[in-house]
């Protein structure tokens, strides 16, 4: 069982497996599926996903420590510029599509959905194409993390909550203060951080109108860390990471269970539910984002920044395509922006369809002879 789970985790099959079951279920026994998904969505999307995001945050924080993949920060300059370009490109294409072509103003508020990139899927695609070029893989990682960080900030205030009490957000500061105090008290176990500071932060976000799945993000930087190589798919805990006091180690498999349930609960869309929102999300992700990334990187290079060593423009085209799949994150952003209904189904279908970006990246790599498809001359 554990071996099967590890295989699924290592090959990023957990979410697609959940999505596939959800799709079949929703299109055969719709009523029972939606009853189940609506009953479970609060627990998974608002509580379970808080642990998933915290898990990813933990990995990103550790990769930025001295010795980590993303250290030093300055290396992230160009990927951050690229991420900004990708965000602008995708948002502009989304809005142009919705307003000019779709005639569905109801979709206009959904533009933050296209500010999502599936970190794990993009990483897998990049790792598969750029087998012998870690600089390209690192660039993709930095780009996707920066994009999602901005995207999470954008959706944070769009949570379709109940009555909102903005003053409640002051308790997030109290939660952070609590985490700092625990850190100063040299508390090494992550449990007090999660159970005390995390719970306060979750309630503060929920009542303050911020998506509660983001609640653990301000707490995670205060957990114990050690530098690591960043591989969100298959880097098994080892060394100092392999300890019961380490959040990443303890939550590695529970997080996968949550991801499976997330795919199951949110991936079941009615196939006939496609519409303008589907095409808007897909077009923005696979056309808008790569274009935005390339334009931004072009401008940055003109302004004096340099492409990383061993990366040329053809590589950059493939990197831009590799960062076009929203998938899990786009599903999550969709549920944060739209409540239950046909509009949500439309954009969720678009989120699922952005997986096509991975195929387009592989096709582009083959066409441009990049990475594993490079000819000896091109190498």
């Amino acid at each position: 069982m554990i071996r099967a789970l590890r295989f699924a985790v290592d090959h990023y099959l957990v979410v697609p497996f959940g999505v596939a079951i959800g799709l079949v279920w929703a299109n055969t026994w719709s009523e029972s599926y939606f009853r189940m998904s609506q009953a479970g969505s609060f627990a998974i999307n608002n509580i379970g996903m808080a642990f998933v995001l915290a898990y990813l945050m933990q990995e990103a924080v550790e990769a930025m420590l001295p010795g980590g993949t993303l250290h030093p920060w300055r290396r992230a300059m160009l990927p951050i510029v690229a991420a900004a370009g990708g965000l602008i490109g995708s948002a502009v294409v989304y809005q142009v599509y919705v307003i000019s072509l779709a005639d569905e103003p109801v979709l206009a508020v959904g533009w933050p959905i296209v500010c999502a990139v599936d970190i794990a899927l993009s990483f897998l695609v990049a790792k598969s194409i750029f087998r012998h070029n870690p600089a390209a893989v690192t660039f993709v990682l930095m780009l996707t993390i920066a994009t999602d960080a901005a995207g999470l900030w954008l959706i944070s205030r769009r949570y379709p909550s109940r009555d909102v009490y903005p003053l409640a957000l002051t308790f997030v500061i109290a939660a952070i203060a609590g985490a700092i105090w625990l850190r100063r008290a040299h508390v090494r176990s992550f449990w007090p951080y999660l159970l005390i500071a995390g719970t306060v932060s979750w309630w503060a976000c929920f009542w303050g109108g911020v998506h509660p799945a983001l609640a653990l993000l301000p707490i995670v930087p205060f957990l114990q860390h050690s530098a690591r190589k960043l591989d969100p798919v298959a880097d098994h805990a080892h060394g100092r990471h392999q300890s019961g006091g380490h959040f990443e180690y303890v939550f590695r498999y529970p997080v996968q269970v949550v991801m499976f349930l997330f795919g199951l609960l949110n991936g079941g869309v009615l196939v006939r539910g496609f519409g303008a929102g589907t095409w808007a999300v897909l077009t923005a992700a696979v056309v808008g984002r790569p274009l935005g990334i390339l334009i931004a990187v072009g401008l940055a290079v003109l302004a004096g920044l340099q492409l990383p060593h061993r990366l040329g423009w053809r590589d950059m085209v493939v990197i831009a395509m590799a960062a076009s799949s929203g998938f899990t994150f786009a599903l999550f952003f969709s549920t944060a922006v739209f409540p239950v209904g046909p509009t949500l189904i439309q954009v969720e279908m678009g989120a699922l369809a952005t997986v096509a970006g991975a195929l387009l990246a592989a096709a582009a790599a083959r066409l441009l002879h990049v990475g594993r498809f490079a000819t000896s001359e091109a190498r």
Binding site: E31, Q38, D163
Partner: protein, 283 residues
């Protein structure tokens, strides 16, 4: 003698015309609540004007007080001139006669349209109002967020009228081939409708007319062809009670005590469906 004959002929012709204009399935009682229903109408094109003309004709003999708009009240551009072309001009006669339109928003409507005074939404996405022994609940099915669901439950719980009619854009049940039933919305809304005794639910979105067989005691109508039309789009199923997808259409409804009479009228003025629903029973 000849003059008398001529007068008699004219009187007979006028009487025939008025009788012809009177919707046959509606009793047209003086103290009843009379209303019309249109959905997906706001194209500004000829079929919308034709339907509006049929409504004006019907109004001369069946003086309805209000029109329920089931969403997609405006397609395409929604500038001030469009409100004239797509709403004020086609329904000019009815507006002048004091008929009040009560709108819900569809996926083609801008959210700001809820502030347009002739739609009588008072800036609200969802609202309720009452006429005689009927309470209407108007929902925004584009954004069925938790506050709206909570509001609906409390409004339904507080309602004491004999009839509870709910309308919104996306149909919970539909045999329209393009969109069909919105099952995700149904799972959330139908338990409330059943629990609090909603009698009738009206929606648009699919550009057809359809009456469904009662579902859990509730009669559902799809009336989304008062401007748009998706010809031949009804995929009949076991839950289809009646349907019409060959031309544009609208509905006329009369509520008299425990009876709700309904009639669906085509662009040519033909009655394509009619019947009566008795409160607590099925048609």
């Amino acid at each position: 003698m000849r003059r008398t004959l001529l007068v008699l002929l004219v009187v007979a012709a006028v009487a025939h015309a008025r009788l012809h204009a009177l919707p046959p399935g509606l009793p047209n009682r003086p103290d009843s609540l009379k209303l019309a229903v249109i959905g997906d109408n706001g194209t500004g094109e000829q079929p919308e004007y034709d339907i509006a003309a049929r409504m004006v004709e019907a109004h001369t003999t069946f003086p309805f007080d209000l029109v329920l708009m089931l969403g997609d009240n405006m397609y395409g551009s929604q500038q001030p001139a469009d409100f004239v072309k797509k709403f004020e001009r086609p329904y000019e006669r009815l507006l002048k006669d004091g008929v009040r339109f009560y709108a819900t928003l569809g996926n083609h409507d801008r959210q700001e349209n809820r502030f347009y005074a002739p739609f009588n939404m008072d800036g609200q996405r969802y609202y309720t109002y009452t006429r005689k022994n009927v309470r209407f609940f108007v929902l925004d099915s584009n954004f069925l967020d938790p506050p709206q669901v909570a509001w609906l439950e409390s409004a339904l719980k507080a309602a004491t009228e004999d009839w509870k009619i709910c309308y919104f854009h996306h149909p919970l049940y539909s045999d329209g081939g393009r969109h069909g039933s919105e099952v995700d919305l149904r799972v959330r809304l139908e338990p409330l409708f059943v629990k609090y005794g909603v009698n009738v639910v009206l929606s648009g979105h699919d550009h057809i007319y359809e009456r469904l067989t009662p579902q859990n005691g509730i009669v559902y109508f799809v009336s989304g062809a008062a401007g748009q039309l998706r010809k031949g789009n009804v995929k009949r199923s076991a839950m289809t009670a009646a349907s019409f997808d060959q031309d544009q259409s609208f509905m006329l409804i009369e509520i008299a005590g425990p009876d709700l009479f309904f009639e669906a009228v085509s662009r040519t003025g033909a009655t394509v469906d009619s019947g009566v629903i008795r409160s607590g029973t099925t048609p």
